[in-house]
Symmetry: C2
Subunit: 189 residues, 2 copies
DNA sequence: CCGACTTGCCTAAAGGTTTTAGGAAGCTGC
DNA sequence: GCAGCTTCCTAAAACCTTTAGGCAAGTCGG
């Protein structure tokens, strides 16, 4: 009875791959068991429940996304940093749609607090230090930045911008430019 | 064998209520049947499948949202219109979280084209006519507006802004102000 | 008013997912 | 080489989805 070598980590990783292939909502304990050539019940030694598995995938995705953003941010400041950060977000969502969906899985507050969501907030704040904002404004701007990145990427992933001119890429560049101008407190072009 | 008087419309409406109560992803043909005190199979005369039911709820939500936005927009222009539109969006999501989730249910392209999504785009464009934008810019701005509204509301619903000062309401006002300033091409305050 | 037709809800059943309980085979360390 | 832990299995109950076929309640022509 050769062992498949299951671990929580491998399951979560495979679950993330599965999400990218078939969509996050199609990720199921059964499908994962099939992928490992193993009976369903076997997974329950490594994963508490279906919900637990999805939470794991969500945390993985949040972590990967934070890593990407951190890498993109390294050595940059100002608009450069803003654009790199935003692009990291968007690229990740395009490369890993299932994982990106997972990153928006509703986490209970304690799990969320222990997640990489905190790193995201810190990085956003770091970018904004390159702009001249008062403290309350900085928080508002953190929220604005998060909203734009998340909103744009979501709508794009849902196909919202795909069947009309101009190209989504152009709009994205315009949006990033505009945010920069807004945060610098200067008019657009 | 008293008849329950099921119709597709009533099922979709009840499904929307159910979504607001227990979450859109918990909306199930079985749960709906229980709510009507009827056997599960009975619903399949009115609804093709679970996916079909969810599509119906999504279309209902999109329509309601467009109605609200249209009402908010009536008789307003410029920043007034912008704020009213954005608030309609946000208020709907807060009052009807399940329906709002439903509105983001992935529709196949033809269904989407026939949905109220089109009205949303038209209204956004109408708002932007109050600003002085060139044609390509207007499209970019449509996308930006959609992204901000959707992104902010999503993150807020996920609890992203709930456990930190300042109040989300303040940030929202700041964001709307900022968008207005951005679109007018003027610096922020 | 009554047979025939349509419609609305039912029973039955098959297939898939989730989750728990308990058993047997493989690995680890003494 | 065997005690014990880990890994994976079989079994089974509960729930959701979907299809097929049946009976009875409304509806309509004669």
């Amino acid at each position: 009875m050769a062992r498949a070598g299951l671990t929580t980590e491998r399951l979560v990783k495979a679950g993330a791959e599965l999400a990218d292939e078939v969509g996050f909502d199609q990720v199921t304990v059964s499908a994962l068991a099939r992928r490992f050539g193993v009976k369903v019940a076997s997974l329950y030694s490594h994963v508490k429940s279906s919900h637990d598995l999805k939470t794991g995938i969500a945390l993985l995705a949040l972590g990967e996304l934070a890593d990407r953003a951190a890498e993109a941010l390294a050595g940059r400041a100002g608009k450069d940093a803003l654009a790199a950060f935003a692009n990291a977000y968007r690229d990740y969502a395009r490369e890993h749609p299932g994982r990106y969906d997972a990153a928006r899985f509703r986490l209970d507050p304690e799990t969320a607090a222990a997640s990489a969501g905190v790193r995201h907030a810190q990085m956003t704040r770091a970018i904004l230090r390159g702009y001249d904002l008062t403290e309350p404004e900085q928080t508002h701007a953190v929220r604005l930045l998060g909203s734009v990145c998340h909103g744009y990427v979501s709508l794009e992933a849902a196909g919202g911008f795909s069947h009309s001119a101009p190209d989504s890429q152009e709009s994205w560049a315009w949006v990033v430019d505009s945010l920069d101008a807004l945060l610098r407190g200067r008019p657009l072009s």
